[in-house]
């Protein structure tokens, strides 16, 4: 390794020219203003064709030393860039920038330390501004991105407060490896892991005392404060993200938080108040007479002809939700600062559930002299989430499990005199009362998190022709999560396992550390033929996770400490992932900045690979070209193409075949586990090619981005099913490929822009088609609850999210003794039944692909109308296609083939039963297309005169009414087509098992700037 390292450094020195010439220089000064006359702070002013540049001060002024005639390029976020010719003798320049209404001009990230103007970008990198994110308050950041990014499918897992959502960029990019995109906040890699609470200890969802992927867990990106965000860049695949190596196959989401700018302190206070309301309910049968109940086989004494709406009673909490954001930013001299605070509470629909978050942020920048820039960003956040019980359940404790088996006339309410909650006679001996659970069972999850990063940027060499910067940056994302679930012994369901009372104390902590070093050399030769940016560097990453889980059962009533429980179950899990990479990249801007050529490579090794010392290469190359000639009405037309590779590292432990350690009568034992590992495992390899064009039309009134892509994933990591008779059920295998092909576009328009009236419209569209092209093992099924409800089929030629099930073409029947017979003949059937029809029953149902969990396409329609001080925004999110396995409906069918005792809506039940009778899995696998009105807001800028009068020192005040998820139109018969019982997964996120119901929210906000 040593030799390679030194050659890197010596190459770098060779790139430095040995002499620098100086000619006669003069000082040019000027001002940059907006059309309104307001000076623009921190606008960048650069001399085209050189490395010279500066920023405007708080008066919008700048000075530069130049030679001869020059062209200045002036840029400022939110404004359209402008180039100004300065004559050979001119010393004063006045520049006026116009607002960039469609936000066409952004800086697009191309590496860990380099960016390029969106005018030249060779990748379709979606950039979403903070203003677009924060139009309607959202529980977590993913909600704020829904419908705004072409190529992204963003789906929430349930309606529970506090988050839980998955971002999939350009299709399914893995089957057995990590499913999350990489999140990077201000250069610091942050964790988006979802740590299970241990809810299964109470619900027995996975029939273990422990944790499970059915714990309705929250992925931790939820901790970020959307109000802190300046912008989000989304690198959708390997062609843009290869610099992040084996963490980048699922795409990278780069979040930049706000920074201060030179000027007086600017304060902002935003106060929001709102409410969440149940937005959809299941149709539960209403019994209107004792006779009807008796006919259904229900004990109806005492019967009161009541049609209680138990869902509204249970999920009807309308407590006040609120959010207070305060921030101050500014700067002077070499210092800039941004500080913010957030206090937030989202009340859940169920009493006792909710989401509380408090966050503090301080971003500090300091220039030391002219060469050194320091920046430190920190966020401290605490969240407290209580989500109650939802999702799969085998203990009959989930509210929807109980409601599906208890008739509408049962009164759950606590007796106000005795304080006793009625026992539920419809669920056997330990029939549960969810209202009792709601009041006595607690599920708090506390997360404390610190994200801190610092960078030092030192200009080693600066001249008009070149500069060389060395950049060191590092950061740590540390959080600890505590889940304390307490289920007292007095709850009706608790004694069912013989151990009344349960407490779970689950402590996890995770530290993600990243260290980068980069050298960036920018070269502007005097010939002005090209600009070259060369960067080389290294990245070192480390992620350490530890979890100590302890559950106590047989818990003394009224106590919550583990030592007050008679039966203790404990386990510990640790992981440590280390990786290291070198990278290098060259960007060339040619032909008067019309042509961009880029090439780069990342060499990486990682500890989760079978060979931790082996380096894997992730190259990339890209080009963009702005056409010098263009049709009428087209301001700019850029063609672009990019290719890149990235990886998806194996998960910790996949390289090992473990032994299970057990205890039997105080003796330790070991035996082979059911899952076998793969000692030669290496990262999945993703290769992406994308090509498209960006057009600016009609004088900046419209823009269109179109991209087509092909993303191939090779060396898939698969947890392949093995024949259970081998003693193993699964084995990690590697091989095979899948391909995503698709296209996406973004159309931005300002159809109306006249005086104080404007209308901005943004449309995003994504279509992706995935297909498995090769497998190292026979086709297999994975996930789910049996083929009757559908399972994921991994098969060559099919989509990786294909759902297999019975199609109802069952050609065999059974006689009275259970023997198989062919219809009408009474004799044993011949093929395709492969077994003789002796004394057993075999299902000969025909299996086939009956659906696909992935949507055919998604579209987002976002509109903004401004009429003077009034602004109306809306966002409609449309998902077409995609199926969900609705097991919740199965609960409402109750048990019986004779239609007795059914509590579901009769029409729906009959429909499902008809399909069930034909043995069709389609009885449960449903179309989950939807159109949702995600956001609607109406805001009003209070007139300046009134502000002065009413708010004193405030400079601007806005009031706003906003709502989220106000309307949903879907053929889906469950609570919400956005659902995943297993949380975030690659190919099995389509199971609906008695989830927390969805809500719509309404907020009133006042925002004041001082």
């Amino acid at each position: 390794m040593k030799r390679i390292r030194w050659s890197f450094l010596s190459l770098l020195f060779l790139a430095l020219p040995l002499s620098t010439a100086f000619a006669q220089t003069r000082r040019v000064s000027g001002t940059v203003r907006a059309e309104s006359g307001e000076p623009l702070v921190a606008a960048s002013v650069g001399v085209v064709g050189t490395a010279l540049g500066t920023y405007t001060d708080d008066q919008g002024r700048f000075t530069l030393n130049v030679t001869g005639p020059v062209t200045l390029r002036v840029r400022r976020i939110g404004y359209t860039q402008k180039t100004v010719d300065v004559g050979p003798a001119a010393t004063d320049v006045a520049v006026v920038l116009t607002r960039d209404v469609l936000q066409l001009e952004t800086q697009v990230v191309t590496g860990t330390a380099t960016t390029v103007s969106s005018r030249n970008a060779a990748n379709a990198v979606a950039v979403v501004s903070g203003e677009q994110l924060n139009r309607a308050p959202t529980p977590t950041i993913e909600n704020a991105l829904q419908g705004k990014i072409p190529g992204a499918v963003i789906t929430t897992n349930s309606g529970a407060p506090g988050g839980g959502a998955q971002v999939q960029l350009r299709g399914v990019t893995s089957i057995g490896a990590n499913s999350s995109p990489l999140y990077v906040v201000d250069g610091v890699i942050v964790s988006n892991d979802a740590i299970s609470s241990g809810l299964t200890t109470i619900t027995q969802a996975s029939r273990v005392i422990g944790t499970s992927n059915q714990d309705q867990q929250v992925n931790r990106i939820a901790d970020l404060n959307p109000a802190d965000i300046e912008d989000i860049s989304v690198l959708k695949g390997a062609s843009a993200s290869s610099i992040y190596g084996s963490a980048a196959s699922n795409g990278v989401i780069l979040i930049t938080t706000k920074r201060g700018r030179n000027g007086k302190p600017a304060f902002n206070v935003t106060q929001r108040f709102g409410q969440f309301r149940l937005s959809n309910k299941l149709n539960i049968r209403c019994f209107t007479s004792a006779q009807e109940a008796a006919d259904a086989g229900l004990d109806a004494t005492p019967f009161s002809p009541e049609c209680r709406d138990v869902q509204e009673e249970f999920y009807g909490q309308h407590d006040l939700s609120y959010e207070t954001d305060v921030s101050v930013s500014g700067g002077n001299g070499g210092t800039s600062y941004f500080a913010s605070g957030l206090v937030k509470r989202d009340a859940g629909l169920e009493i006792g559930t909710g989401y509380n978050k408090q966050s503090l942020r301080l971003n500090l920048g300091q220039s030391v002299g002219t060469r050194l820039k320091l920046q430190a960003n920190t966020q401290l956040v605490h969240s407290l989430t209580a989500r109650g019980i939802s999702g799969n359940d085998n203990a009959n404790v989930n509210p929807y499990t109980v409601f599906s088996a208890t008739p509408s006339f049962f009164n759950y309410n606590r007796d106000p005199v005795t304080g006793v909650y009625p026992a539920n006679p419809y669920l056997g001996r330990f029939g549960d009362n969810p209202f009792q659970d709601r009041d006595l069972l607690s599920t708090p999850e506390n997360v404390y998190r610190l994200i801190g990063g610092a960078s030092a940027n030192y200009n080693l060499l600066s001249s008009s022709r070149q500069n060389l910067e060395v950049i060191f940056s590092g950061g740590v994302d540390q959080f600890s999560q505590n889940d304390k679930l307490v289920s007292p012994a007095s709850l009706y369901f608790e004694p069912a396992d013989g151990l009344p009372g349960t407490v779970v104390d689950n402590n996890s902590s995770e530290i993600t550390g990243t260290l980068y070093g980069s050298l960036v050399h920018r070269f502007f030769p005097s010939s002005q033929l090209f600009n070259a940016t060369t960067s080389v560097g290294f990245r070192q990453g480390r992620k350490q996770f530890g979890q100590v889980f302890t559950a106590g059962q047989n818990l003394l009533l009224g106590q919550a400490n583990l030592d007050k429980a008679a039966n203790i179950t404990a386990f510990e899990t640790r992981t440590l992932v280390k990786d290291f990479s070198y990278y290098g990249q060259e960007e060339l801007l040619l032909l008067n900045e019309k042509l961009l050529l880029t090439a780069g490579a990342n060499l990486e090794r990682g500890s989760t690979n079978g060979d931790p010392d082996k380096f894997f290469a992730y190259p990339k190359a890209a080009a963009s070209f702005s056409l010098p000639w263009r049709p009428r009405g087209v301001d700019n037309l850029k063609l672009r193409a990019a290719y890149g590779r990235a990886g998806n590292k194996p998960q910790f432990g996949q390289a090992f075949t473990p032994l299970v350690v057990i205890v039997e009568n105080n003796i330790l034992g070991t035996r082979p586990a059911l899952n076998a590992g793969l000692s030669t495992i290496k990262p999945e390899r993703s290769s992406e090619t994308e090509a498209g064009f960006d057009a600016t039309l009609f004088g900046g009134r419209a823009s269109l981005e179109f991209t087509g892509y092909r993303k191939g994933i090779d060396d898939l990591i698969l947890t392949a099913t093995r024949a259970p008779s081998t003693g193993f059920t699964t084995q990690v295998v590697q091989g095979g490929s899948l391909i995503n092909r698709g296209y996406e576009f973004a159309l931005n328009m300002t159809p109306v822009q006249r005086g104080g009236v404007n209308w901005i419209s943004r449309t995003t569209f994504s279509h992706n088609h995935a297909i498995v092209t090769q497998l190292p093992v026979p086709a297999f099924n994975t996930g789910g609850f049996g083929l009757g409800f559908g399972a994921t089929r991994i098969e060559v030629g099919k989509s990786p999210t294909a759902i297999i099930g019975r199609n109802g073409r069952d050609t065999t029947f059974r006689d009275a003794s259970g023997n198989l017979v062919t219809r009408g003949t009474g004799a044993c059937p011949a093929a395709p039944t492969t077994v003789s029809c002796g004394t057993f029953v075999k299902r000969a149902d025909h299996l086939e692909i009956i659906g696909d969990a992935s949507p055919r396409f998604t579209m987002g329609f976002s509109n903004e109308f401004n009429f003077g001080p009034v602004r109306i925004t809306s966002l409609v999110d449309w998902r077409h296609g995609g199926d969900v396995a609705n097991l919740t409906n199965d609960y409402l069918l109750d048990c019986c083939s004779d239609n007795q005792g059914t509590l579901g809506d009769t029409v729906l039940v009959n429909k499902i039963r008809a399909k069930q009778a034909l043995r069709q899995s389609r009885a449960f696998v449903e179309n989950a297309s939807f159109v949702k009105l995600r956001e609607l807001s109406l805001s009003y800028a209070v007139p300046h005169a009134f502000v002065k009068h009413a708010f004193g020192s405030a400079s601007a005040v806005r009031v706003e009414l906003s709502g989220r998820n106000l309307l949903t139109k879907t053929p889906y018969t469950g609570l919400d087509p956005e659902v995943s019982n297993f949380g975030n997964t690659n190919v099995t996120r389509y199971f609906d098992v008695t989830p927390y119901p969805p809500s719509r929210s309404f907020f009133f906000s006042v925002s004041a700037d001082f």
Partner: protein, 460 residues
């Protein structure tokens, strides 16, 4: 100067990063690779043997104990009525367990996991260094013990697949071709010979295994006493070979069964020894497993309590609960069990009744009656029955005693009802129209898929 300083820092950082190796071992579990590549210690051997014993205990099923529950539900002794898992009712009572779900694929993997554990022990056993203090004779004894247990795993797997057969070859490494599914008769032949050769090893195994067995093996934890356990199983296997649907061994089989049982720990003289045997024991201490039959959703078919003879002491296992109808089923009693109650693995009471079955098979109704009456008196405190007048009547009587003697202990009732052709509407009331009587579970979907759908049992 500053420039060079910065470069120096960059260089040092790069160097430092390279020195730090990226390798990380498995932080959470020991590895199977270690077991087969490093010489094993005596403690390591003890761990593996305890691990295998635990695998057998775990194969009873974990929350709920499906090895027992499925069989008792299929034999209509029990219902499992669970609002969140209706498949215990609507798949098991109408005969359509889904081979891709826990129901139809159940009671399969756990036994092969056990056999894999057994094979691992047998593979590493010879290579344990003599210095570890495990003698060759002890190795022979341990091999006999492990192979006896392995035979039992095959037998239990076969109980639930019956005529569908099961695979015998578990040894091939992962990824190589799977051995065929073997027909029931040949599997029984294999189990029988495996038990015999294990018995030979136990006989040559000296006085001690040199490793500890679970407390449930108290009285059976030396090679000589473990051999009694081996013979008990041999008798059971021979009985069902004699009753095989396709190629019954008939009288020879019944004779072999009686011979083996007589060579086991059967005792028909001392009533206090009626429960003597090997048990699975449970505990609620940390890391250990409690009795998984503690399950609020498990109820008895009313027939069980209705048919109980007045005064039968075995009725203590049945507790009366309020009559309840749920999922169209009515129940009024439950099985009484606590977290720490043991579950019989093989006990004297069962051996006596198995011998009675074999005697009926040979036409020895008088001998069978004596065995039945001994159990009635010793376990139930009941008066003796009058002489049997027919084999059918004798079998009826034996099955009734077995129901109460072995309630919730195994799949015995499913196996018997099936073997004697009684698992049908003539003997049982259907709960609901459309219900049928399920005789076996299907070959799991994953097993069938990995064999390209070829699951026809091979019988050559």
């Amino acid at each position: 100067m500053k420039k060079y300083l910065a470069i120096a820092i960059a260089g040092v950082a790069l160097l430092g990063a390279c020195k730090d190796s990226t390798a990380v071992p498995d932080l959470n579990n020991p590895s199977l690779g270690d077991l087969t590549t490093k010489p094993l210690t005596k403690i390591g051997l003890q761990n593996e043997i305890t691990g295998y014993h635990d695998a057998q205990r775990a194969s009873l099923g974990v929350a709920p104990a499906n090895y027992i529950v499925f069989g008792e539900v299929m034999a209509r002794d029990a219902y499992r009525i669970d609002a969140s898992e209706a498949r215990y009712v609507n798949e098991f009572l109408n005969g359509t367990p889904d081979p891709s779900a826990f129901s139809g694929a159940g009671n399969f993997t756990a036994f092969f996991r056990g056999i894999r554990a057994a094979n691992t022990i047998l593979q590493i056993l010879p290579s344990i260094p003599a210095a570890e203090g495990v003698t060759d004779q002890q190795k022979t004894a341990i091999s006999g013990m492990v192979r006896t247990m392995k035979a039992i795993d095959y037998y239990k797997a076969l109980e639930y697949r019956d005529t569908l057969g099961i695979p015998i070859a578990v040894e091939p490494p992962l990824g190589s071709a799977l051995g065929p599914i073997v027909c029931k008769q040949k599997v029984l032949d294999y189990i029988s010979s495996l038990l015999d050769s294990a018995n030979t090893q136990l006989a040559a195994g000296g006085s001690s295994f040199g490793v500890e067995l679970p407390p449930g093996f108290a009285g059976f934890n030396t090679p000589a006493t473990f051999a009694l356990f081996n013979r008990g199983w041999k008798g059971k296997v021979e009985l069902y070979r004699a009753l095989d649907h396709a190629a019954p061994t008939g009288a020879a089989g019944f004779t072999a069964a009686i011979a083996a049982i007589n060579a086991s720990f059967i005792n028909t003289t001392d009533a206090s020894q009626i429960s003597k045997g090997v048990y699975f024991t449970f505990s609620t201490s940390p890391g250990d497993t409690p009795n998984q039959l503690v399950d609020g959703n498990l109820h008895l078919n009313p027939q069980v309590s209705d048919s109980l003879q007045p005064g039968d002491k075995r009725g203590a296992k049945i507790i009366t609960v309020p009559t309840t109808t749920s999922q169209s089923l009515t129940y009024k009693s439950n099985f009484k069990v606590t977290q720490t109650d043991p579950i019989a693995y093989l006990k004297n009471e069962e051996l006596i009744l198995l011998r009675a079955q074999a005697k009926v098979g040979l036409g020895d109704l008088v001998g069978a009656l004596a065995d039945v009456n001994f159990v009635r008196l010793a376990a139930g405190g009941l008066a003796p029955l009058p002489p049997f007048t027919s084999a059918t009547q004798a079998i009826d009587a034996i099955l009734r005693e077995k129901r109460y003697s072995l309630l919730f202990e195994s799949a015995h009732r499913l196996v018997d009802l099936r073997a004697y052709g009684r698992l049908n509407a003539t003997f049982f009331k259907k709960e609901r129209t459309g219900d049928i009587f399920l005789k076996a579970l299907p070959i799991p979907q994953n097993e069938s898929d990995q064999r390209g759908g070829n699951i026809t049992p091979v019988c050559t």
